[in-house]
Symmetry: C2
Subunit: 302 residues, 2 copies
């Protein structure tokens, strides 16, 4: 099997001859973007799978945490484009072992975050499978033409991240402390994403699969290379966890070098870690050396 | 475990305190309905799961057919509300046995129908699971306030169906002939749904889980009972297959008794099978006897 990026390229090429009304961005960004005739907003759409024994384990993950994370992943994609959430849909295939109590707790966890982020549950599907599987759809809204995209970075732009990296990978491995909590209950950066849009960020995405892979994707989409220094590391995490660990759900963004980016915003530290450069599209260098995109890929062979 | 209707009621009650902007219909119809400020259209959203060893088997279903059916199920929900499709999103979890060729053929089948129905693939998610699992999202469009709902039937309205029933259940069991083709490659009734909306149908839904269960749902939503005669039966199918068999994807709809409904529309026979009545909400009688909602329910105990 090929890598995830190769598979997505293959699907995109198969789908490229079909066009429709109103679609502004299709395959390849955090969200698809749709515009209704006459509307003052663009709509953002994202879907995310969460699968038993791939993304979570029955033994170690409480259903409340699984429900929370399912929605948090979708909301994080909306945050990455500078949007605010409007509603969600949940498709849930229950496993033979998942009883009515598990179902209740799954939805309680999901709806706790949904209530806080004003994201009503508008529908979905229920089914059965050998393994518990959830697919979340989140619809968000952004003023017309203002969505933050992956492909908008310009040569010379500064590269920034929010927060510190590596907490989720550390929490997954140690199963202890604040890092574990960050792994189980990630926080989508909705307020920060809206702020960055108004501040004039040129490109953004969320760090779901690790900085090395996600920055490679942003640089590829923007047809530029990236030069960075090591990013801020969550206390206790290793440099590898910070560079390649997934599921931090912080925001990665670019902005013109002269734009003043505050050091703190919405309770989060913002750190400039590098600069976008003309050069080999998608190449990332750290302290001058090539950084391979070793973040999380379901399909890469070990 | 409770029945699917009970589970959906439970989820709806958990979710009922969360409200958001723009959502016109939430849980409980074929699609959620959203309205963008200023827009001339309402948007329809539906999601449908398709799971290995529940909805299809690796041994008997070609990947082209699985892809086609995944999209057809979503398009059928758009048809049921009188909409036309705008775009789709596909989340696909690949099983250990599903190779690059299977993936290609799955998308070829899906995109063949997508091209015909002008429904571009706008994004989705790729993952892995123990069993191949697809969740399809279809977004459709309908003129503002004009979506056909389940809850719009009035006492005295005629009850109609398109086509003949039982073909998919027959094709699943016999694995032969035209019935098998109808089981493998269902046809969403997009053109018919738009026509019914313009004709002034009062309520509609698609027949995905069997007439007995789906008419029970429509009658429950409209707070009425239904009296019917036996529906037209696909040649070779049994009355049980026609009444309780799922996946025919014909349209079930109601219209004022005096409204002239053509006998044929968009190549399909339209048959009046009964009348909506005041009475016990959700009760369905056939030739005067109670018809139990025995259509397809993942969660009912045998």
């Amino acid at each position: 099997m090929r890598s995830e990026l190769q598979l997505i390229d293959r699907i995109r090429s198969l789908a490229s001859n079909i066009h429709g009304r109103g679609l502004a961005i299709g395959i390849g960004d955090d969200c698809a973007v749709y515009h209704s005739p006459g509307a003052s907003e663009d709509l953002l759409f994202t879907t995310d799978l969460l699968v038993e024994d791939i993304h979570f384990r029955r033994e170690t993950h409480r259903p409340e945490d699984i429900g929370w994370k399912a929605l948090a992943r979708g909301l994080s994609d909306i945050a990455a484009m500078g949007g605010e959430p409007r509603f969600c849909l949940v498709s849930l295939a229950l496993a033979p072992w998942s009883d009515a109590r598990w179902l209740d707790c799954f939805y309680r966890g999901l709806l706790k975050l949904a209530a806080r982020e004003k994201t009503p549950l508008a529908g979905g599907d229920l089914g059965k499978s050998a393994k518990a599987t959830c697919d979340i759809v989140v619809c968000g809204s952004v003023p017309r033409g203002k969505a933050l995209r992956r492909d908008g970075a310009k040569a010379g732009d500064g590269i920034y991240i929010s927060g510190e990296l590596g907490s989720s990978a550390l929490g997954f491995e140690s199963q202890r402390g604040k890092a574990r909590q960050k792994h189980l209950r990630p926080e989508p950066r909705i307020a920060l994403g809206k702020h960055l849009r108004r501040l004039g960020a040129t490109a953004a995405m969320d760090l779901s699969d690790g900085l090395s892979l996600d920055l490679h994707r942003l640089a590829t989409a923007s047809r530029l290379s990236a030069e960075i220094a090591p990013p801020p590391i969550f206390r206790g995490a290793t440099p590898e966890q910070a560079l390649h660990g997934g599921e931090d759900y912080e925001l990665l963004f670019t902005a013109p070098a002269r734009r003043v980016i505050p050091e703190h915003l919405e309770g989060l530290r913002l750190t400039r870690i590098g600069t976008m450069r003309k050069g080999s599209a998608g190449e990332v260098r750290i302290n001058g050396a090539i950084l391979r995109p070793l973040g999380y890929d379901h399909f890469r062979k070990p």
